[in-house]
Amino acid sequence: MAVIAEPVVKPVPRFRFILDRREVLETILVAPAILYVLLLVGLPLLLAVYYSLSAYTIYNPTWKFVGLANFEQILQNPTFLDTLRNTFIFTFGSQLLGLVLGKFGAFLLLQPFPGRKIVRALIILPFAVPVALATIAWQWMFDSLYSVINWTMIAAGILTRDEAPNWLGNPYLAMLCIVIINAWRFFPFAIVIFLAGITAVPQDVIDAATVDGAGFWRRNYQIILPMILPIVAIGLIFGIVFTFTDLSIVFLLTMGGPGGATSVLGFAGFQTGIVSGDVAHGAAISLFMLPVLLVVVIFMLRFIRRREI
């Protein structure tokens, strides 16, 4: 009689049953992201809040609680209010300019022309180039002695050397320079956002508008722009948050000069907290960004939710 071997049933590990449960697996998979946010964003933020309420300095690393004394001292300093104003001008000025350039760039890149793909790839370069490298290149363009912009204008007979603008020596021009550089870095991102938005608008909507007699401006500002506003707003949130917290351009180009005309919150916080070793005051200066950014982000997200179609 033939004996038929019975298949051996391997005991299934208990662990596998646990992983088969959807809610457990979801938790395990999402845990790294939550841990990342808690450890690398949440914890430093709480630490910064505590620093700002303490007397912590590198000279005397004490955790002594001082309440809101650091904030009071900062607000009493008139220079700080200038810094706050500069930060707003820098942020919103560069975002506005970046958006305008981005919109024009997107329209140009939507038109068919030979080499469009190469131009589309090249236009991303300002966004991809390291900020240090880009700022140094701009530094030479705005240099007091060897400015290529001034040199060109002098060579073209538009200006004499005495009339040439002192880009980084005049308070208003210096602010304009950092705004231009940041807008130059931001506009490729704005182009991508606009291109993505415009190409997502259904062609039949545009065709219908055209048939109804809508011209270029009406199509763009009454049909396309309202439809892509949510995606533009998301891009703008990124731009505002990154610019408001940025210190690299100012640090590399002007060091807050001339006479504090380009000092922004990120730079002032770095100089006070890290370079001068007053960590508590540095943290307090930096935390002034938090309520502003919170209000801007909440406002824009609410706006996006209302505009969603």
Binding site: A55, Y59, N60, W167, G169, T254, G257, G260, H281
Partner: protein
Amino acid sequence: MSTGKYLRVTRRRFLTQTGLTLAAASAPSLATPFISRALADTKSLSIVQWSHFVPEYDKWFDQFAKDWGTKNNIDVSVDHIPVANVAARAAAEASAQSGHDLFGWNGAGGAHLYRKFLVDVTTLVEATEKKYGKVSTIGRQIGYNQDNKTWSAFPDFYINFPAMYRKSMWDEIGMKPDTWDDVRIGGAKLKAKGHPVGISLGHSNDPNTTWRGLLWSFGGALQDADGKNVVLNSKETVEAVKYVAALYKEAMTSEVLSWDDSSNNRYLVSGIGSMIVNPISAYRTFQKANKKGADDTFVMAPPKGPVRQIMGGASEFYGIWKFAKNREGAIEFLKYYADHWPEAFKASEGYNNPCFANLVPKPMPILSNDPTSTPADKLAVLQNSEQWSASPGYPGPSWPAVDEAYNDFIICDMMAKAASGQMSAEDSVKWAHGQSEAIFTKWHGKT
């Protein structure tokens, strides 16, 4: 026959294989503590310092440190970082309680700010003083703690800020910039000829140093000798600020408002500038770019003010972290380095000036007889620069409040605001005094 059954990625298969991959990838890091312990038996010494303005010095130092390591069976590594990154690197290392063994600071800040993190090097400094003479005033202002009479850093060298002027241009108007008044009067004449004076009014180390020197030469100062009180709002300071406003209008170019530390070097090399105040790196750069122009450039002690002849200086000093892995090695290296300091002096082409009186006996090599200069004794005046050099805290000590006033460019802005007409001299001084007093009050509560 392939059924595709085994190729399908199931959830279980994904998790098993991902888990195994992660375990394999993390195996080396799990073993790291054991490997590190084994490596710790090999002695090492790590040094970090700024990238010197004279690149040849860095080459010499790296080889010197490596040779010392070979002799003592120690693996030495030297990292050079941009001068602007020194403060941030120090803060990062102190916060992490980890980093290099030996930390080289440059300019303001450092020794006194980080004293709780640094090894007391009093014995080392005193032993070096016995061997090579007293530490100069500028060396003492940085590393010495007046309150408990200890040293928290080893003074390496200081950088002086002499005046450099184009002799042919000044000869043409029959003057020499001996005093600040001469600079203003002669500078105005030379500006009319297309050769303005160039002293930065921007935000960087050079103007921070130069304008402090001018302020002291007029009898003004940021703080008193004890470092307790801000004394900026004085008649002397107002006079100094009025002078700078006049100098800017009459003898300088508006470009100076945007200059960084290298701008005046370029200005001199361009052939436009008739005078600058800068370490001799500007002269060395000029020598490499245009020998004829450099030969016409003369180096002199800073111009005299109504009260004294003095100029700011920048100090370089070494601190040993308390958390350093090789403290003994760091101390031994500094002893050896001090014994060979004249070599460092030569390698820096006379840029590094000794903080100990007899470290480089006079006549000093290079400065007393520089074969690259015409005449060869052109730099001889720099041998006595310790007599007219002072650190930012003068006449008091350097301490965190002085550093913050320095890092906030308060003295530069006080001069610039008056020069550019944003404020009157009196208002500008009041503004600077208020800013400084807020900083001093804050730090007095914390130190």
